[in-house]
Amino acid sequence: MSIHADDEFSLRLAIDTELDDVTPRDGLADLVIARYRKSRRRRFAGVFGLFVVFAGIGVPIGVASTSGGTAARSGPVALRLGSYTLTLPDRYHLGDARTAPCATGAGAAQETAAVASGVCVLMFFMPPARPGQAGQDVPRDAKQVTVGRYRAWLAPPGYTPSGDGPGHPALVNTALVIEGRGRDLVIGASGLSRSALVSLVSAGLSGTGVHGLPSEPCRRLARGTSASPRSTSTR
């Protein structure tokens, strides 16, 4: 067809005639639908990947923050029971009192535990033999030591103290009995030597429920008399 300005001008007809050989490729709709599906799969994979990444970062942080883990915490760890506080180095983190490897299973109201790599530290009250009188349950061959400002007994190997509440004996290989007012405090550990436990407690124990030195029992100790009426039960 001739297109000329002098002709009767019909642009639509002229274009249709000139471009009648311009046709889209076969199967264009299928191609577009396949491309759409592919992009949707990619988008879904991207969203899913982001979800996995955020879950992978967020869940450990959440778990660590609720269980006192290392991811959300920095600085020393304070192990508290009653009015006592045992400050531990920052490699420790608070453990669940029921499920900690060394716990007696008596629960958080009765005991508290902290764990580090291969080490478990447990703190609980020893039941008084008589109401209002502490220090009745320390074994005969316990070694009396001074731990910081406090008087304590280092239990012999094989001694497995029991807590105040229901539960099995503590799974500790080292135990230190701190004399307190009314009831004694037991700090046990698995994975620590006796000297390491003594230095850990010396450095970190504080509280208002313990006797400070020089106390009356310690003055008596210094004079060479019996410190307190200890019973001889060994468990």
Partner: protein, 179 residues
């Protein structure tokens, strides 16, 4: 009874069968080459299919608007990233025709002349005379007043007549006095 995605795809396939040729020709006028036009058409159809639930009421109008947006994106991209010319300057015959598609394009005198029009006039002529859009639809799709559509159409046609006259005069001269 067909399930929803299958029905959606069948509707879309039917629409592509009826409208894609016109959209491709419009893209060919708005852009510079057959390859670009085919790419733009695919992208237009893809975007239309993504929003098919909205587009199915009036898929022609929806796809026209998408097409002009795709073409404008390409113009902007080309303005930001101008091609380096002269790479094929000394390669003889190959420099003249880069592809068969381009060779085919060269036969389209009217398309070539339309491409020389200013952008607004070209878009208006494409919408009015190739995509059969009304003045109101053209104004809405291009985002310009209806008065501008009318004046751009009128000026575009005048310009087109003038350019075509010059084109044919040039051809006639060449035929009489071959170089």
């Amino acid at each position: 009874m067909r399930d929803a995605p299958a029905g959606r795809e069948a509707e879309f396939t039917e629409f592509v069968g009826s409208a894609s040729a016109r959209l491709l020709r419009a893209a060919l006028v708005l852009l510079d080459s057959r390859e670009e036009a085919e790419d733009a058409l695919q992208l237009t159809l893809l975007r239309t299919f993504r929003r098919w639930d909205n587009a199915r009421q009036s898929p022609e109008a929806y796809s026209r608007t998408v097409l002009v947006n795709v073409c404008r994106e390409r113009w902007r991209h080309r303005a930001r990233h101008p091609e380096v010319t002269g790479v094929f300057a000394d390669t003889g015959a190959l420099a003249v025709v880069a592809s068969f598609a381009e060779a085919a394009d060269r036969r389209h005198v009217l398309v070539r002349v339309l491409r020389r029009l200013p952008a607004v006039q070209r878009e208006v002529l494409v919408f009015r005379y190739m995509l059969d859009a009304t003045v109101a639809d053209t104004a809405a799709a291009l985002g310009i007043p209806e008065g501008t559509v009318k004046s751009a159409a009128s000026r575009g046609l005048d310009q087109l007549r003038m350019l075509l006259s010059a084109e044919y005069e040039d051809k006639r001269v060449r035929r009489v006095h071959p170089r």
